[in-house]
Amino acid sequence: MDYFLQQLINGLVLGSIYGLIAIGYTMVYGIVGMINFAHGDIFMIGGFIALITFLILVSIGLTFVPVILLLVLLVSMAVTALYGWTVERIAYRPLRHSFRLAPMLSAIGMSFVLSNFSQVAQGARVKPVPPIITGGYTLHESDAGFAVQLSNVQIVVVVTTVVLLVIFTWLVARTRFGRDMRACEQDQTMAALLGVDVDRTISMTFVIGAALAAVAGMMYLLYYGLVDFFMGFVAGIKAFTAAVLGGIGSLPGAMLGGLAIGLIETFWSAYFSVEYKDVAAFSILIVVLIFLPTGLLGRPEVEKV
C-alpha cells in the first residue's frame, strides 16, 4: 500500500510535467489543426535555457534559492517563448494555406533543427546538475521500514504547475487574448472579419505554448537533475499522447491526459518493467486513438464532404 502511495505521488509529479507540454500541443492543434512536431524540442530547449541561466546565476554569487528559481523560471519562459515564436514565423506561417502534409513535414524538419542545434551548440553529453531543492517530508512509515517520501522538489513542481494552470485558465477564459484565441479556433475567417488579428493570435498561441513547455523543461531539470539534447523526442510523443488521451483541443483534457500518462508510466515501471515503459506509453496512444479517437473530454469531429 505504501509502495502504491509512493508511486502515486511520483506519477502525479511526472504527469504534471507531461500535462504542461500537452497544453502546447492541444492549443496549437485547436487553432491551426496541425501537430506541432517541434514542441517536444521546444521543451528540451526550455530545459537547456533553465540550466544555463541557473549556472550563470550561481556563478555570479546568488545563493538565495527562491530568487534563483524565480529568475530561472522567468528567463527560460521568455527565451523559450521567443523560440516558439520564431519557429512559427519561419516554418509554419508561410505554410498556413498550403496542403495538409506540408506543415507537418516542416514541423518534423524543425524538430531535427532544434535538437541538432542544441547538440551542436551544447554537446551531445548529458548535462547533470546538483540537486537544487533538497529535503522533504516522510508522510508515512510502514512497519517493514518503507517510507513514503514527499520531497520538496515534488512540492515545487506540483505547486508551480497548479499556479500556472490557474493563470493560464484565467488568460483563456477572461482576457481579450483568450477570446480572440477561442474565436480563431472556431472560425478563422469570421474572426478576421470581426477584427481579430488572426496571425497575431496564432503567434501568441505558440508563444504561450512554448512558455508552458519551458516551465515543464525547468521542472524536468529540477526533478531529474539532468538534460540532454535528445530528451524532447520521447517526452514530446508522450505529451502528444496525453493531449490525444484527454481529447485534442481540450485544455483541461490535456492536463488530465498528462496526469493519466504520468501515472500509467510510473505504475508500469513500478510493477512491470522499466525497459518497456515507453512501449507502454506508445501502445496506449495507439489503443486510445483506435477505441476513443475523441479522447476523454474531446468533441467528436464531424466529417464534412
Binding site: I49, A102, A121, P130, T189
Partner: protein, 463 residues
C-alpha cells in the same frame, strides 16, 4: 480549415533601404536573444561531474552578424523575384523541349545505373555510395505506394525495414523453423533448417512476406484514422518495434545487434576467395570488388522490381482504388470501393518492399543493430518521397540521389548533417511544398487527349 484570409498586402510600394535595414536589425536582435544563452555559453560536465561553462562570444557575434547579412540578402532576393504567387509563363517550345528531355531522362538514368559498375569499377567508394543510393531509391518507391499512391502518411516505415532486416538475420542465424509431423508424441516437432549458401535467396521472400504481415497488422487498427493521427500512430508503431528489438536481448542481442549475417551468393555460388568461390570457378583472380558489383546489380534489380510492380499495380483496379482513396476517401466509399482491403493492401505492399530492402541491408552490412532503424530513417525516406513529388517514380529516384548525395557531401561535418537536413526539409516545404517534380499525371482520362494537372489544381486528399 478556414478559407484563405486576405493576408497578402495589397500592392505594397517598393520597400526602401530603410525598411530592409530595419527588418534585418529586428532579425539580428531576435537572433541575439535566441542564441546568447545557447551559443554564447557552452556547458559541459567537468571531470568531477560538476558542471562547468565557458563563454563563446566570438561565435555569437559571428552568428548574429550572419543573420543580419542573411536577412538583407533574403529581402533583396525576394524583391528581385517579385511577389509570391506570380506564375512564370513558359513559352511552348521550351515546355515541349522540357517534356522531351523529361521522357528521355528515365531511360538515360537507367542506362547510366547499369553502367555504373563498369565505369567506376576501381572506385569502391563510389560503388558503395551507389548501393546506398539505390537502397534508398527502393525504400522511396516502396513508401511511395503507401504515401504517394494511397495517400496514407506513414511515419514508421522504418519498422518494416527493421522487420525485414531482423527476419533475415535471425532466420539465417537460427535456421528456418520447419514443423515436422510425426506419429509419436508430441506429434509435431520443430526442426531448424540451416540454409547455408542459399539462405539469402530463400529468406529474401520470407522477409518480405513477414514485413507485409506486419504491415497488415499495423493496418488493421489504423483503418479509421487519417491524416495527422495516422502519422502519429505509425510513428508510435515504428518506435515500438525499435524499442522491442532494443530490449528483447535474448533474441536480438539488444543494442549489440547481430553480427555475422551470411553474405549473399550468386544463386548458390559464394563470392569468396575459396576454391568453390565464383572467382575460382571462372578462373579469374579474386577481388573484393566482385561482391560490390554483385550487390550493386542485386539492389538495382530489387529496386526495378519495386518500380515495375508499383507501375503495374497502378493500372490494376487496386491501384486505381488507391489513387481514388487518396483524392477523396468519402467519395470512394460512396462508390462502393472496399476501403478496408484497399488500405490494407497498400500497407502490405509498401511494407513488403521495405522488408526486401531490409533483408538486402542486413546481407550487405553483415551486421545490424537497432541504431540503424531510428525515426530519422523514416523521416529521411519520407522526405525523399515528398521531395520527389509524391507519386512520381522518377521524382523519387532523383530525390534519393540528391538527398543521399547531399548527405555524403556533408560527411566531413558529421554533427551538422542532421541540422542541415532538418533545415533543408523546412525550406523545401516553404519553397516547393509539392516536391521537385511538382505535378501528378492522372492515371485515367475521360477524354483522349493527355493532359497533366498542375499541382495547385489538384486538391489534396485529407491523408
Amino acid at each position: 480549415m478556414a478559407l484563405p484570409v486576405a493576408d497578402q498586402p495589397i500592392a505594397k510600394p517598393a520597400s526602401t533601404v530603410g525598411f530592409i535595414l530595419k527588418k534585418a536589425a529586428i532579425s539580428a536582435l531576435v537572433a541575439l536573444a535566441l542564441f546568447s544563452l545557447m551559443i554564447g555559453i557552452r556547458t559541459e560536465a567537468g571531470p568531477s561531474g560538476q558542471l562547468i561553462y565557458w563563454t563563446r562570444f566570438g561565435d555569437l557575434a559571428a552568428i548574429v552578424a550572419a543573420v543580419f547579412v542573411g536577412s538583407i540578402l533574403f529581402e533583396l532576393l525576394r524583391q528581385w523575384l517579385g511577389p509570391v504567387g506570380t506564375t512564370v509563363v513558359v513559352p511552348p517550345q521550351v515546355s515541349k523541349g522540357l517534356s522531351v528531355a523529361g521522357r528521355l531522362l528515365a531511360p538515360a538514368l537507367l542506362i547510366f545505373a547499369l553502367l555504373v559498375p563498369v565505369i567506376f569499377y576501381n572506385q569502391r567508394y563510389l560503388l558503395d555510395l551507389g548501393i546506398l543510393v539505390l537502397t534508398y531509391v527502393m525504400l522511396g518507391w516502396g513508401l511511395n505506394v503507401v504515401v504517394g499512391l494511397a495517400g496514407l502518411l506513414d511515419l514508421g516505415y522504418v519498422a518494416f525495414y527493421a522487420v525485414g532486416a531482423y527476419s533475415y538475420a535471425l532466420l539465417a542465424h537460427y535456421g528456418l523453423p520447419l514443423p515436422l509431423l510425426s506419429t509419436a508424441y508430441p506429434f509435431i516437432t520443430v526442426e531448424h533448417l540451416q540454409l547455408g549458401v542459399w539462405s539469402f535467396w530463400v529468406l529474401l521472400p520470407i522477409s518480405g512476406l513477414l514485413a507485409a504481415m506486419w504491415g497488415v497488422l499495423l493496418g488493421f487498427p489504423v483503418l479509421r484514422l487519417r491524416g495527422d493521427y495516422l502519422a502519429i500512430v505509425t510513428l508510435a508503431f515504428g518506435e515500438i518495434i525499435r524499442l522491442v528489438i532494443l530490449n528483447w536481448q535474448d533474441l536480438t542481442g539488444g543494442p549489440n545487434g547481430i553480427s555475422g549475417i551470411p553474405r549473399p551468393t550468386l544463386f548458390g555460388i559464394p563470392l569468396t576467395p575459396g576454391d568453390d568461390g565464383l572467382a575460382a570457378m571462372l578462373g579469374i583472380p579474386f577481388s573484393p570488388t566482385h561482391r560490390l558489383v554483385f550487390l550493386f546489380y542485386l539492389i538495382l534489380a530489387l529496386a526495378l522490381l519495386t518500380n515495375w510492380v508499383a507501375i503495374r499495380l497502378r493500372r490494376l483496379p487496386i491501384g486505381r482504388a488507391w489513387e481514388a482513396m487518396r483524392e477523396d476517401e468519402v467519395a470512394c466509399r460512396a462508390l462502393g470501393i472496399n476501403i478496408t482491403t484497399t488500405k490494407l493492401s497498400a500497407f502490405a505492399i509498401g511494407a513488403m518492399f521495405g522488408g526486401f530492402a531490409g533483408a538486402f541491408f542486413a546481407t550487405r552490412q553483415g551486421f545490424i543493430s537497432p541504431e540503424s532503424f531510428t525515426f530519422q530513417e523514416s523521416a529521411l525516406v519520407l522526405a525523399i518521397v515528398v521531395l520527389g513529388g509524391m507519386g512520381s517514380q522518377l521524382g523519387v529516384a532523383l530525390a534519393a540521389l540528391t538527398m543521399i548525395g547531399g548527405f555524403e557531401l556533408f560527411r566531413g561535418l558529421d554533427q551538422y548533417r542532421m541540422l542541415v537536413f532538418g533545415a533543408v526539409m523546412v525550406l523545401l516545404m516553404i519553397w516547393r511544398p509539392r516536391g521537385l517534380v511538382g505535378h501528378r499525371a492522372p492515371s485515367v482520362f475521360l477524354h483522349r487527349e493527355r493532359t497533366t494537372i498542375a499541382s495547385d489544381m489538384v486538391k489534396e486528399g485529407r491523408g
